[in-house]
């Protein structure tokens, strides 16, 4: 027998990780972000626990500014799979007028994502949060552990992470501490798309190219779902053939010009494209190393 293909090796590794969480953690939860990585994570969890049910609920941190199509997809797909979904939103911040324009990107993310996540985890008493982050996404993630230890305030200390050897994971924590678990750590963006293709996994239609109304500013395409997105004098939305390469909040996720309207064409585009995945997300460009700062504060 020849060794397993890389995709089947990655799949088995992720299943192993998900089963370890379920076996050793008291109250795990799967952080569901609705994006393509979350869709892959759900499929892997189905595989890990078949023929049983997924032994943990899903938690979606809804900032209130996610794309409408994302929320529709979330409700439809999780109902179809019969999964328990918890949605948590930082209502207080929204009522105080949190928007990336009024508060600035960093403060807005801090309130609607980081604070909301920590509150959501605390409300549920969750001690292990499974997420779809990958090491290839961003430089500071390259050193992230599969089982990433967080102190009682949910914070990440890059100098105080446990060494991780073989696939023997240390899941032990004190009360109040928690783990973030990343079963897709070793997947690349291309692996994720190949797997979606091979497994025929449903994803949010925003990933596929079609004409959408956008504010066009130089190379940037800015979605206009939220009415508070400020317009320049005389600026009108234009219908642009485009798609989302990664999904986030609509005011902070730029679209890319693309004709790729099928998974195959997306993969073809990916192989020839020369820009990294997160580059169209406004949030990472606040300052050099900004993702690392967010992570230390508790961001996923």
């Amino acid at each position: 027998m020849s060794p397993l293909s890389h995709l089947r090796q990655l799949e088995a590794e992720s299943i192993h990780i998900l089963r370890e969480v379920a076996a050793e953690c008291q109250r795990p939860v799967l952080l569901y972000s609705i994006g393509k990585d979350s869709s892959v994570l759900l499929r892997l969890a189905q595989k890990a626990f078949h023929p049983g049910q997924m032994p943990f609920p899903l938690l979606h941190i809804d900032t209130g500014y996610k794309f409408r199509e994302m929320i529709e997809f979330r409700d439809r797909y999780t109902a179809q799979l019969g999964l328990k979904l918890i949605v948590h939103t930082n209502r207080a911040a929204l009522e105080s007028g949190a928007t990336p324009f009024a508060w600035g990107t960093q403060r807005c993310c801090g309130a609607l994502k980081t604070t909301a996540l920590l509150d959501g985890l605390r409300n549920g008493g969750f001690d292990a949060a499974i997420g779809g982050a990958r090491r290839d996404e961003e430089r500071s993630r390259a050193k992230e552990r599969v089982f990433s230890f967080r102190d009682s305030r949910g914070q990440w200390d890059p100098r105080n992470q446990r060494p991780e050897l073989w696939n023997v994971f240390n899941t032990r924590i004190q009360p109040g501490e928690s783990l973030r678990v990343f079963p897709l750590s070793n997947w690349t963006e291309l692996d994720v798309w190949q797997y979606i293709h091979a497994e025929d996994i449903p994803i949010v239609p925003l990933y596929f190219a079609k004409p959408r109304p956008m504010l066009v500013r130089g190379d940037s395409l800015l979605p206009i779902e939220q009415s508070f997105v400020p317009r320049l004098p005389g600026e009108q939305p234009q219908l642009v053939m485009c798609r989302m390469r990664s999904l986030g909040c609509s005011p902070c996720t730029g679209a890319i010009r693309s004709e790729a309207d099928t998974v195959l064409r997306i993969i073809e585009e990916l192989i020839t494209v020369r820009r990294s995945e997160r580059q169209n997300r406004v949030i990472d460009h606040d300052q050099d190393g900004s993702m690392e700062i967010k992570k230390q504060e508790g961001y996923f």
Partner: protein, 500 residues
């Protein structure tokens, strides 16, 4: 673009994608010191295999402007964290990903600096191959020996010795040949290692992806060509079947299955199996997956097994082939790498995790510490961070395992400190020691006054002591003798086994 990285000729995109999906995966680790040009080499592999995006390239070109304006600094592509970028050294294990038309690669990039043995060990633990970088100007340094030793300790069959900075020695064959000869002499003691020597310049790109015309005397494949072709994954496929049970799956009364991953070997429906530690025998009734029932499964696959008989099997048990069952013992000999600032403590209870099983275990004694520079055995009463020792542990209940040399998955373990929950040590099992608490004594009564007692040490050495025979209770005399032995050898080099 070289032959190595060019896309293969293809009929259609679907066909190309099929080839893509069939690629296998090589995990390798890189070791080298701050100055060996390791970051530059990895940066070049990523860059030349088109795994670096334009915006990432822009961001490292920007960042280089202050330090070294002008050219792209490949090393910045791989230095992850801010603190490290400021210090200009990498201090932890970072994982990188790239692919060529032949294979996918995961690099565990580890620093080579002395105090970071633990990072090298971590990086090597998941790797099948190590690249050891040697500076052509400096030749074989103590750290190169260390890297090769750790590769051998962690059971990596393939080691590439990349002699870097050949551009700075005029691409001279003699320099390369001398380093190769030195290194081969040193490697001779590691029978398990298959070395490959390649002269490169990471900075100039010689023999990294493309074969260099500047070293016509070298006829082997370039570094990347070698990485693409080296055979991998055969060992776990051909080893005895092992399946550590992760979870019992019981969705309803009709189904009772055991979820886990085949860490080695293969299995088919109907095959006889033995459960450890109970020793009960049964056979495989089915191999269940989300994608349907399988007739066979092979190493690496995550599946759910059901058994022909109703046997009590729990998480932590191992399902194996009865032809070659695992060892079972509460006495474990192991090589331990200490990973924590808090040194090892004898007779302290640690949490031992081996595959899916956790058990209490005590560190009973340290046979010796290994000097990682001279590879000499040294007397030691503890192990400090980054130290490697040969030790004996006793677990509260028997464990089923293999030696690490036979099976990396069932022969490895970590130790966790119960107070801090830190992972304090990584262990590689070297053998099982049964009933290690007793002593093999050979008492010979010489006269009514003197008894001579011999006992055998773990290492096979025997020691002889004499004691007065007029003690009414021989057992008590033995106890006193033992106390004297303990006092003389506080770090015992012997096993208490057998009896009077």
């Amino acid at each position: 673009m070289s032959a190595a990285t060019a896309l293969p000729v293809r009929e259609s995109f679907e066909e190309f994608l099929e080839q893509e999906q069939a690629k296998d995966l090589l995990r390798f680790t890189t070791a080298g010191s701050v100055d060996d040009g390791k970051s530059t080499l990895i940066g070049r592999l990523l860059y030349d295999s088109r795994s670096v995006y334009d915006d990432q390239l822009e961001s490292v070109t920007n960042a280089s402007a202050g330090r070294n304006a002008g050219a792209i600094d490949f090393s910045l592509l791989t230095d992850g964290l801010r603190a490290e970028r400021e210090q200009g050294i990498t201090i932890d294990v970072a994982y990188r990903y790239f692919a060529t038309p032949r294979r996918k690669f995961i690099i565990a990039d580890t620093p080579g600096h002395e105090q970071y043995t633990r990072n090298m060990v971590t990086g090597a633990s998941t790797a099948e191959l190590a690249i050891v970088l040697v500076d052509a100007r400096k030749g074989l340094l103590p750290q190169s020996r260390r890297h090769a030793y750790i590769a051998s300790l962690l059971g990596l069959p393939h080691v590439v010795i990349a002699v870097n900075k050949m551009d700075l020695v005029g691409y001279e064959h003699a320099t390369f040949a001398r380093i190769e000869a030195d290194f081969r002499r040193f490697l001779a003691r590691f029978q398990s290692i298959e070395p490959y020597f390649v002269p490169i310049s990471a900075l100039a790109g010689d023999n990294v992806v493309n074969r260099s015309s500047r070293m016509p005397w070298f006829h082997g494949p370039s570094l990347l060509e070698y990485l693409e072709r080296v055979p991998i994954g055969k060992r776990v496929q051909n080893s005895a079947f092992r399946f550590p049970v992760q979870r019992v799956v019981r969705p309803n009364q009709e189904f009772r299955g055991y979820a886990g991953t085949l860490v080695s070997g293969r299995i088919s429906v109907g095959d006889p199996v033995v459960i450890s530690p109970s020793g009960r025998q049964t056979s495989i009734a089915s191999i269940t997956t989300f994608d349907g029932e399988l007739r066979h499964a092979q190493a690496g696959q995550a599946v759910t097994l059901t058994l022909a008989d109703e046997i009590d099997v729990v998480r932590g048990d191992t399902i194996s082939t009865p032809d070659e069952p695992p060892l079972s013992s509460s006495g474990i000999d192991a090589t331990l790498v200490w990973l924590n600032g808090e040194p090892a403590q004898l007779n302290k209870r640690y949490r031992l995790k081996n595959a899916s099983r956790q058990e209490w275990a005590e560190l009973k004694y340290i046979r010796h510490r290994l000097n990682i520079n001279s590879l000499d055995h040294e007397h030691a009463s503890t192990l400090e961070m980054n130290e490697i020792g040969s030790v004996h542990l006793e677990s509260a209940r028997p464990l089923a395992f293999d030696t690490y040399a036979k099976n990396r998955a069932t022969g490895s373990f970590i130790l966790i400190d119960e107070a801090t929950n830190a992972t304090v040590a990584a262990g590689m099992i070297t053998g099982a020691v049964q009933d290690a608490r007793k002593v093999f004594f050979s008492p010979i009564t010489l006269s009514d006054r003197i008894t001579r007692v011999s006992f055998e040490t773990v290492g096979g050495k025997s020691q002889t002591f004499t004691l007065p025979a007029d003690d009414s209770d021989a057992q008590q005399a033995i106890e006193e003798l033992l106390d004297r032995i303990r006092a003389r050898f506080p770090e015992p080099d012997w096993t208490e086994s057998g009896g009077i």
